[in-house]
């Protein structure tokens, strides 16, 4: 594609994923330098290289140049091809690390994406496969990406050895819908998935019991599912986790999860997850904190109309993302307190004029 030569320039190893996504979506080459240049162990990490490989495989015509020291990369994006992609994730990061950018790109591919990822399905750094399935995908549906959107957790794999496998199916869209989501509603139900692999299946029941002790006071509609994977499907390492999701009357979702650590009882894991969920609910807004970036990204790409969304306080990632979006598309959000009369409220109203991004890849097919 002929593009005016305007190279996006970023520094540092942080926020690599959304910067690569912005580059690929906008078609602008991106140069990222000073990647851990002051570190004892400079340059890209194995998982970052692996992510670049995955992006290369899911696109067509992408050129990636990595400097000799690995402290600078130049990515010239091609088109997002989609189709069937298989990727083995390194064990240093969970599959969530790789899925999150793919979720942002997949709706704009040429062909529907069928992505199979192997590795660790839940860890404490990135969204687990459960949360991506139960929370991230419904967030995509807000923008009209729904028909055929699916994720299957075929095998679970805990750290450190992994052995899990998930399959992500995503349809393509021509254009995403403009979002207008300003009523957060009230929490009407809580759902959760407790899973335990290669440990006593009783662990997930213990987690459910403990989570209920905190959450039952608020609402009777709590359904916590105990997900049991046996034999081959349970991966190579023992582990357990609880992911929780609070859904409001207007469909706003908030999520939290906690993953097993050595020497921590299932009860404590469940308490951590439940309390984190309460903190999340208290922060307010229509969108879960961990999904602010995804939602704002889709708002920028929306049709040429004003999209509005109420959010809680932005995370550091969100702030950086807003700046990077401004650099890439020139779009800036209008951010005002959603309720100016109430000084205690931290809820903010984000609005922006969509760029009217049209999936040109699809029409080429």
């Amino acid at each position: 594609m002929a593009q005016p030569v305007s190279v996006l320039h970023f520094s540092g190893h942080q926020y690599l994923r959304h910067r690569l996504v912005l580059s690929i979506i906008s078609g602008k080459p991106v140069k990222i330098d000073k990647i851990r240049s002051d570190d004892k162990n400079p340059g890209l990490r194995d998982y970052e290289v692996s992510l670049l490989r995955l992006l290369e495989r899911a696109t067509n015509g992408t050129v990636i140049e990595i400097s000799v020291t690995g402290t600078a990369i130049l990515l010239k994006p091609g088109i997002i091809a989609g189709g069937s992609v298989l990727h083995d994730c390194p064990l240093s990061r969970s599959i969530g690390y790789f899925l999150e950018p793919m979720v942002m790109l997949a709706p704009f591919a040429k062909k529907p994406l069928q992505l199979t990822l192997r590795g660790i399905t839940s860890d404490d750094k990135d969204l687990s496969a459960d949360l991506i399935r139960t929370v991230t995908l419904p967030h995509l549906q807000l923008f009209g990406v729904s028909e055929g959107l699916e994720m299957r957790i075929k095998k679970r794999g805990s750290a450190p050895l992994g052995g899990g496998e998930v399959q992500f199916l995503c349809p393509v869209v021509k254009q995403v819908k403009t979002l207008d989501f300003i009523d957060a509603g009230r929490v009407k139900r809580i759902r959760g998935i407790a899973h335990a692999v290669r440990v006593s299946p009783q662990f997930s029941n213990r987690m459910i019991e403990a989570a209920r002790s905190v959450l039952n006071r608020y609402i009777p509609d709590i359904y916590l599912y105990s997900d049991v994977y046996k034999g081959e499907d349970s991966g190579k390492s023992p582990g357990y986790a609880l992911s929780l999701l609070a859904e409001s009357t207007t469909g706003a979702m908030h999520s939290a999860e906690a993953v097993s650590e050595p020497g921590v009882t299932p009860e404590d894991i469940a308490l951590t997850a439940s309390r984190a969920l309460l903190s999340e609910v208290r922060r307010g807004g229509c969108i879960d904190r961990q999904h602010q970036v995804l939602v704002l990204f889709m708002m920028v790409l929306g049709s040429e109309d004003v999209g509005r969304c109420k959010l809680g306080e932005p995370t550091p990632r969100t702030i950086q993302f807003l700046r990077d979006v401004h650099q890439t598309f020139g779009t800036s959000f209008k951010i005002v307190p959603s309720n100016p009369s109430d000084t205690t409220s931290t809820e903010l109203l984000f609005s922006c004029y969509g760029t009217g991004y049209v999936n040109a890849n699809r029409t080429l097919a």
Binding site: Q14, T272, R275, R289, R323, K334
Partner: protein
């Protein structure tokens, strides 16, 4: 009078658009720093140095990963042992009586 009003409102509440698009504070500084107006102006003048020390050098000494989930601080969650706090968010649930 208008500037006084603006200053007043800024002290009360962060001006997110200015902090994000105009200032060059790091995201962490925006969230945790003191956003009072005088502080902001000081930062604006010497942010050339602040950014560098905060952003790159600190990142080099301690590995801060590109993570989606924020580290949950167990101390922060301790507050939920308090019954009053647990009750204080009842209005956010449908069963929580008349909040509106």
């Amino acid at each position: 009078a208008q500037s006084a009003y603006q200053e007043h409102s800024r002290r009360r509440r962060k001006d997110w658009m200015k902090l994000i698009y105009v200032s060059s504070l790091t995201p962490e500084q925006i969230l945790h720093g003191d956003p009072s107006s005088t502080d902001l102006q000081n930062q604006d003048e010497d942010d050339f140095f602040t950014i560098r020390s905060k952003g790159t050098v600190a990142g080099g000494t301690e590995e801060d990963l590109d993570v989606t989930k924020e580290k949950v601080k167990l101390e922060d969650l301790k507050e939920w042992e308090n019954e009053e706090l647990l009750d204080s968010i009842r209005h956010l649930f449908i069963t929580g009586g008349s909040g509106t």
